[in-house]
């Protein structure tokens, strides 16, 4: 269970948000909404432990995430704005290295399968710099297929994707939620994901 208590975010001398509270149970989906600059990315970066909240605490199963360290990172996957896709590496190398960084080492076949599933069949061996923006996004999202973590924190996962890929990702998320996973995400696109508990967190 992921909980946020009285979270506050300050950037420079501006307070982006304060008193944000939520609690996310297994199978739950939380959509963070708000206009540009309202602190959505800042909130997600706090939730994954990259940034510290100015005030308040974030608890994973009752323990502060910063004190959990590696134990928390092992159950959490964060996909940010920047996909972490290296221009000079091929799609398959990118996927294998990023999932190894996430703690799961996969072999060539498994990476191949995941990329195939994301609609990148036949392009696995191209360097990422020749892929389109949407294809690079698919390489990033292929990590979700292999990571095996419980909590997904996704920052604008649907940017640059075509409708077919959006459907694919939607299905992926629904399956994850069915199996008791949790998702925190931001998106400006309308997307209908069926989950046992969907909550919307509106930032001012």
């Amino acid at each position: 269970m992921l909980q946020g208590c009285n979270l506050e975010c300050v950037r420079g001398d501006r307070r982006l948000f304060r008193d944000v509270n939520f609690s996310l149970e297994a199978g739950g989906l939380m959509q963070v909404q708000g206009p540009n600059g309202s602190g959505k990315t800042s909130l997600l970066r706090m939730l994954c432990g990259l940034a510290a909240p100015a005030h308040g605490e974030i608890l994973w199963n009752g323990a502060e995430i910063r004190s959990l360290g590696g134990d928390y990172y092992a159950v959490m996957t964060y996909l940010g704005h920047l996909g972490g896709v290296k221009d000079d590496l091929t799609a398959i190398e990118n996927l294998r290295i990023s999932s190894a960084l996430g703690g799961i080492e996969i072999d060539e076949n498994k990476a191949h399968e995941a990329l195939q599933h994301m609609g990148l069949g036949g392009r696995e061996l191209l360097p990422a710099k020749v892929l389109s923006q949407g294809q690079r996004r698919r390489v990033t999202l292929a990590r979700l297929l292999v990571c095996g973590t419980v909590l997904w924190i996704l920052d604008e996962p649907l940017t640059a994707l075509d409708t077919a890929a959006v459907k694919l990702v939607q299905g992926l998320m629904e399956r994850h939620l069915e199996h008791g996973g949790m998702i925190v995400m931001t998106t400006h696109q309308e997307i209908e994901i069926t989950a046992i508990a969907t909550q919307r967190l509106q930032l001012a």
Partner: protein, 219 residues
């Protein structure tokens, strides 16, 4: 995981050979220009050689520091590293080691060849190479701290030199000193032991400090 990082960085270096060669050519050019500029006075060249080679190695190492984390920072891989369940100091150690393999080792291999230009005797060349072998990893490890601290800052290049240079100076003094001491018949043992001590200390402390700096820079 440690080996994954090293393999990845070596693979990236292979695909971007120009970056690696810049450092090596810089080193070769600086060291080769000195004899031309100073003139063919053998005794002077012999006394200058260790200092020139060491200063050039130090500047070459510094030239490549900016690249250590910059590209990972820009494409988001660094975020993934910070969120990895693997220990961050270990990942950093892997990156520093890869940096050394890519920038330090070629310098070490080139140094004896360049030393011939300075009419260094064989035993002095040997001492010079060993001192570089012990000293260049220290440059990569200490440099990693500076690179991590100045990540994403404007004018980071200048700042990193200012931060890192004072820490490089002992390595320079004892590295170049080793060759002089052996030429004077004192034996290079003491200098080598000190270089070894620097290496061990930075192996233990630098990855850990770099990891903390990275976390601070990424907030």
């Amino acid at each position: 995981m440690f080996f994954w990082i090293i393999r990845r960085d070596l693979l990236l270096a292979m695909r971007r050979r120009a970056d690696v060669l810049t450092t090596l050519f810089f080193f070769i050019i600086v060291v080769s220009l000195f004899p031309l500029g100073v003139g063919p006075e053998m005794n002077m060249l012999r006394t200058m050689a260790p200092g020139v080679v060491w200063v050039a190695a130090l500047l070459a190492a510094m030239l490549s520091l900016g690249r250590m984390f910059a590209s990972d920072h820009l494409d988001g891989t660094l975020e993934q590293m910070l969120l990895s369940p693997q220990s961050l100091p270990l990942l950093v150690l892997g990156k520093a080691l890869a940096h050394w393999l890519v920038t330090g080792v070629p310098l070490v291999l080139m140094a004896p060849v360049l030393g011939i230009q300075y009419d260094l005797p064989v035993d002095a060349l040997l001492v010079l190479t060993i001192s570089l072998l012990l000293g260049t990893p220290v440059l990569s490890l200490i440099g990693a701290i500076g690179a991590a601290l100045t990540l994403g800052l404007r004018g980071g290049g200048v700042l990193v030199s200012l931060l890192v240079l004072p820490l490089y100076i002992p390595v320079l003094i004892f590295g170049a000193g080793a060759v002089e001491a052996s030429a004077a018949g004192l034996g290079a043992g003491a200098h080598m032991s000190l270089l070894g001590a620097f290496l061990l200390a930075s192996l233990v402390l630098a990855p850990w400090t770099t990891a903390i700096s990275l976390r601070i820079s990424m907030e």
